[in-house]
């Protein structure tokens, strides 16, 4: 087991290297006069800073040489300075992370909370009206463009009915504290989370359903029934423990999707999270931030996969490393 984890960790580091090479090569494709263009007309940026940026991107060096100097800095936790925020990238990420984690975390939790029971229900009642309804809703959710769905929700609930805020994280010019602040935050998060969950839950739901169908037709479920176990226990214990195996791998794979979703949802609802900042960074040409952001997600994704691989061994006794 330990050996396996070490091996996986090493592979993770290898993959992370690959990611950084890929990202760096893309970033290195910017033209030579890029930094001067970006800095032109910005008094805050001194010639030294400009020089440092050039160095950071190795724009005056070759690809390989530049990469290694960037990597050296990155290993020390220095991903450069964000143009937009004039702060080290790591600090910017740290500052805006809570909103994104709250949004993505709550949404992921709700998605699983909906996908697992509904998927199981649909599988148990295959071909029934319940099944068709659940699957139809899932497919519509998958097909909904999140920005469009967000616009429709905003139009109905925020603009039309006026019961929920249009955007932002807190009501402007009001200083809530304590519980009131929490309530205000919650109110602002309702629509973003709805968009997130509805557009995201479909694929997981179908995944759970397909796997459950497979498990339900397995011989050991019939054995469990033949033993005289009540249906509740057949599903809840024998079938569920077996569907848990694919679900565990699913959770690890959810992370990248969450960040992609965060970029869209945060920008539409003007939530101050990593995704929204990333989008602003694109318009401002803030490549250091984007590099840091992508590396951060990549690392998180790899950790997620690693954790789900380890969990896999926990839930499936046949897997031994």
């Amino acid at each position: 087991m330990r050996q396996y984890i070490i091996k996986r960790l090493l592979i993770c580091i290898l993959v992370l290297f690959g990611v950084s090479i890929l990202l760096y090569s893309i970033a290195h494709m910017v033209p030579g006069d890029y930094v001067s263009n970006i800095t032109a007309g910005n008094q805050n940026i001194t010639p030294e800073m400009e020089q440092r940026m050039r160095e950071a991107y190795g724009l005056d060096k070759g690809l390989v040489e530049g990469y290694f100097s960037w990597l050296g800095d990155a290993l020390h936790g220095d991903f450069g300075t964000s143009f937009v925020y004039k702060q080290p990238v790591v600090e910017v990420i740290g500052k805006y992370m809570p909103a994104t984690l709250a949004l993505a975390g709550i949404s992921m939790f709700l998605e699983l909370l909906l996908a697992i029971p509904l998927g199981i229900l649909a599988a148990r009642r295959q071909y029934s009206v319940t099944d068709y309804t659940i699957v139809a809703i899932a497919i519509i959710g998958i097909s909904l463009p999140s920005f469009f769905f967000a616009a429709v929700l905003k139009r109905i609930f925020a603009v039309g009915l006026g019961i929920l805020p249009v955007s932002g994280m807190v009501t402007a010019r009001v200083n809530y504290t304590g519980l009131a602040l929490f309530g205000d935050l919650a109110k602002h998060f309702i629509l973003p989370i709805t968009v997130f969950v509805i557009t995201g839950v479909g694929s997981y739901l179908r995944y759970v359903r397909t796997n459950m169908l497979e498990v339900l037709s397995a011989d050991y479920v019939r054995t469990a029934r033949a033993k005289g176990l009540p249906e509740r226990k057949v599903i809840g214990k024998h079938a569920f423990r077996n569907t848990l195996i694919p679900i565990v791998t699913l959770v690890g794979g959810m992370i990248p999707g969450l960040f992609s979703g965060a970029v869209i949802t945060e920008s539409i609802f003007a939530l101050e999270g990593l995704g929204n900042v990333a989008l602003k960074a694109v318009y401002a040409g803030d490549i250091p931030y984007l590099m840091g952001f992508n590396m951060f997600i990549a690392a998180l994704t790899l950790i997620g996969t690693l954790v789900s691989d380890i969990l896999y061994a926990v839930v499936d006794p046949r897997v031994r490393y």
């Binding site: 990611v19 893309i26 960040f259 694109v282």
Partner: protein, 331 residues
């Protein structure tokens, strides 16, 4: 006694001859067309393609033709008609739905319906081109990894992991900002985006194809084929490809919706197809202006519905395909 037996034999022969035997392809087609939702999806796609491909020929307006209005007479003037420079002339923005502009005009005074047609061309083309690129790369890489195994497999799978651990949209943001910095012209941007999307999507395809090939290699008939000592090329062509085909067709249909959706998101975020070219995604991005969100639903709702319908249709087709190929796992 003899009579009876010959008669029996005849009956049996007749019975066997009357049995309709369908080829696997026919069976798949039959199962596919029995699925109502899949048929509806196919119908929507056909209508959409016709609408976008032929529609513009019937529309009297151009993609980025701007309409002006005579503020005194209230008469609409087309750009080509000239005389739009007068002081009494204004751009006919956000015109309501009328017989001239079925869906009104947008914030820049362009006909919404016509732009939806042109935008659809882009979205559908992007879908097809990207899927073709991802299939070519993915099948090739996955095939090589699965067939040869060993070190080659190891390298390709690590590559797949690299691509899988960077989420698509954040990565696209970097690429967009590089394109922005490099000053790529809007009319070329679309080609870059198609290329980049195709290359970034290959990883998923490669993994599926590799898995399929690995499990096929284990199957007895593959070993039997091996045992007969046929050439490698023939083995791949005659035994592997036909069995991987279903999964390739499946990926193609299932991904089509996803690609169109992603393209629309990119356009919406302003990192995809850019002004003045229309795409369904960038037509919806006017919702960021709260006035339009509130009062001019006719500008942003139709393109959004077009995206929804098209993606939904592809997903229905994909679902129907999966059922048709794998009757065990209905839907």
């Amino acid at each position: 006694m003899e009579d009876m037996q010959t008669k029996n034999q005849q009956e049996q022969d007749e019975f066997e001859q009357n049995q309709v035997i369908l080829t696997p392809g026919q069976l798949v087609a039959k199962r596919f067309f029995r699925n109502k939702l899949a048929c509806v999806g196919l119908g929507i796609i056909i209508v959409m393609v016709l609408f976008c491909a032929i529609g513009p020929f019937f529309s009297p307006y151009g993609e980025y033709e701007i309409f002006y209005i005579d503020n005194e007479t209230g008469k609409e003037v087309r750009m080509a008609e000239g005389g739009v420079g007068g002081s009494n002339m204004g751009v006919n923005v956000k015109a309501p739905m009328s017989s001239k502009h079925w869906l009104g005009t947008d914030a820049d005074g362009r006909d919404v319906l016509t732009r939806i047609m042109y935008g659809g061309r882009i979205s559908l083309t992007v879908g097809i081109v990207v899927v073709v690129i991802e299939l070519i790369t993915g099948v090739l890489m996955g095939g090589i990894a699965g067939y040869y195994g060993g070190a080659v497999d190891m390298v390709i799978m690590r590559l797949v992991e690299i691509f899988n651990s960077i989420p698509f949209i954040p990565l696209m943001l970097i690429i967009a900002s590089v394109m922005f910095a490099a000053g790529v012209l809007p009319q070329y941007k679309i080609y870059y985006i198609m290329g980049v999307m195709g290359i970034l999507y290959w990883a998923g395809v490669a993994r599926l194809v590799r898995g399929q090939i690995l499990s096929l290699r284990e199957l007895e008939y593959m070993q039997a084929a091996e045992a007969t000592g046929i050439r490698t090329s023939r083995k791949i062509l005659k035994h592997l490809i036909p069995n991987v085909m279903p999964i390739i067709i499946l990926i193609a249909t299932m991904d089509m919706g996803g690609v169109i959706l992603t393209e629309s998101v990119l356009s919406y975020l302003g990192v995809g197809i850019a002004w003045p070219y229309a795409s369904w995604g960038n037509m919806v991005d006017v919702v960021n202006q709260s006035v339009i969100l509130k009062n001019y639903v006719n500008i942003w709702l139709p393109p959004g519905i077009c995206i929804l319908l098209t993606v939904l249709a592809w997903n229905f087709i994909g679902d129907g395909m999966r059922d048709a190929f794998d009757p065990r796992m209905k839907r």
